[in-house]
């Protein structure tokens, strides 16, 4: 029987020593970036009360943006999705993206109303 994991047509299944050096350099660069972003998040989480006592909304959105930055680097570099063909990237990211946007929208919308109802009838 023919194996179904033949990877002759997979992109980047093998690479040379020289390419390996470049890829490793990129991996360490991304590692440094992720470490810095995490350190910033933790410091901000622990000290924002003292440093920016009024700016919770700004701090909150900073966390969300930094998380998305981290997620992008993990998916694109560590999971090599950035090196795959554009069509496979699209069929993985687009359906998920559309669905999660809808899920977040509906959760915020509905929870606003539930909150209002509880305050009203408590």
């Amino acid at each position: 029987m023919e194996r179904d994991d033949i990877i002759e047509y997979s992109l980047d299944a093998h690479h040379s020593e020289e390419e390996g050096r470049q890829i490793r350099a990129k991996i360490w660069r991304v590692t440094g970036l992720l470490a810095i972003v995490t350190a910033v998040e933790v410091t901000l989480g622990a000290f924002w009360h003292e440093w920016f006592p009024q700016a919770w909304h700004l701090v909150k959105w900073t966390f969300v943006v930094l998380t998305l930055v981290k997620a992008t680097y993990i998916v694109m570099t560590f999971m090599h999705l950035g090196d795959e063909r554009r069509n496979i990237r699209a069929i993985i990211l687009l359906p998920y993206g559309l669905f999660i946007l809808y899920l977040i929208f509906i959760a915020i919308w509905e929870s606003n109303h539930v909150h209002w109802a509880w305050e009203m009838f408590q």
Partner: protein, 285 residues
């Protein structure tokens, strides 16, 4: 049959179209599809958490007040332990991607080294989570409520919850709404004992019904989200261990490629990715 196929591939392998439309193997693509569905499961949990938190009218616990302990140390280290766990998981994700890179060069020794470190990091993370659960369930002393409806935090030096009133350093703190174990007014000695003896309720630690941190849903989501993620890490460690044994046996070297390391790696990075979101939405926000 090994993966050493002839260069002219049969039409079956190429989806009957003469060429692969995505330049990606069946195994990797199915792993990606699984990860998308698993990502939706985790999104569902986190969105449900957001829904409950946003709709509740009670004060919600603050992450940096609840998670501030370190093993073997006394004192307050807000979010340090979770940060350490995050660092361990990101580091093990890095060693995994280095194992994949070594596999692309057919460097068996390199794969073994990096994959072993990945397994080690994952095991460390699971252990850390066990400690965090233990600490969360035990709690920091708990609170009592009085007949008048006042709420007092129970403090003592040994975090004793069985007989806190007779532990050294026992005192009560009138609770500040919305904060954990903090308050302005302290009661000590006889005065504290009297309030303790007249308590109508003592809540300490956390379980599925009630917890000292805040609304019951808070602990329920903690157990469910970190538990579900922890189970993923646990199975990831097992999968990596099996792949490591197969690498040592030379299975993939004979096959001609280390794609199995890549597929296990996709799962492992996904586990790291989920933790990045859990860290932000459960602990930081």
């Amino acid at each position: 049959m090994s993966g050493e196929a002839t260069k002219t591939l049969s039409n079956d392998v190429l989806w009957g179209g003469g060429r692969s439309p995505f330049s990606i193997s069946y195994g990797k693509m199915m792993m990606w599809f699984f990860l998308v569905s698993d990502a939706l499961t985790f999104s569902g949990l986190l969105v449900a958490y957001g829904f409950v938190r946003h709709s509740t009218t009670e004060a919600w616990p603050i992450g940096e007040e609840v998670f501030r302990a370190l093993p073997f140390l006394h004192g307050s280290y807000p979010l340090m332990y979770v940060a350490l766990m995050t660092a361990i998981l990101i580091f093990s994700s890095v060693t995994m991607v280095l194992a994949v890179e070594a596999g692309h060069r057919m460097d068996k020794k390199g794969v073994i080294k990096w994959l072993f470190l990945t397994v080690l990091g994952g095991a460390f993370f699971v252990g850390s989570q066990a400690w965090e659960w233990k600490h969360f369930i035990h709690g920091g002393g708990g609170y009592i409520t009085t007949a008048e409806g006042a709420k007092y935090w129970v403090h003592n030096d040994t975090h004793d919850t069985h007989d806190p009133a007779h532990a050294p350093g026992f005192h009560l703190v009138l609770a500040d709404a919305g904060h954990y174990m903090i308050g302005e007014k302290e009661l000590e000695g006889e005065e504290a004992l009297q309030v303790w003896n007249e308590r109508v309720n003592y809540v300490d630690g956390a379980n599925m019904v009630r917890n000292e941190y805040g609304p019951p849903q808070y602990a329920n989501f903690f157990f469910f989200i970190t538990g579900f993620h922890g189970f993923h890490v646990f199975s990831g460690v097992i999968i990596n261990l099996i792949v490591l044994i197969m690498v040592i046996q030379g299975v993939f070297h004979r096959r001609g490629h280390y794609e199995m390391v890549e597929k296990a790696g996709l799962y492992w990075h996904f586990v790291d990715l989920v933790w990045v979101f859990v860290f932000t939405f459960f602990y930081l926000l």
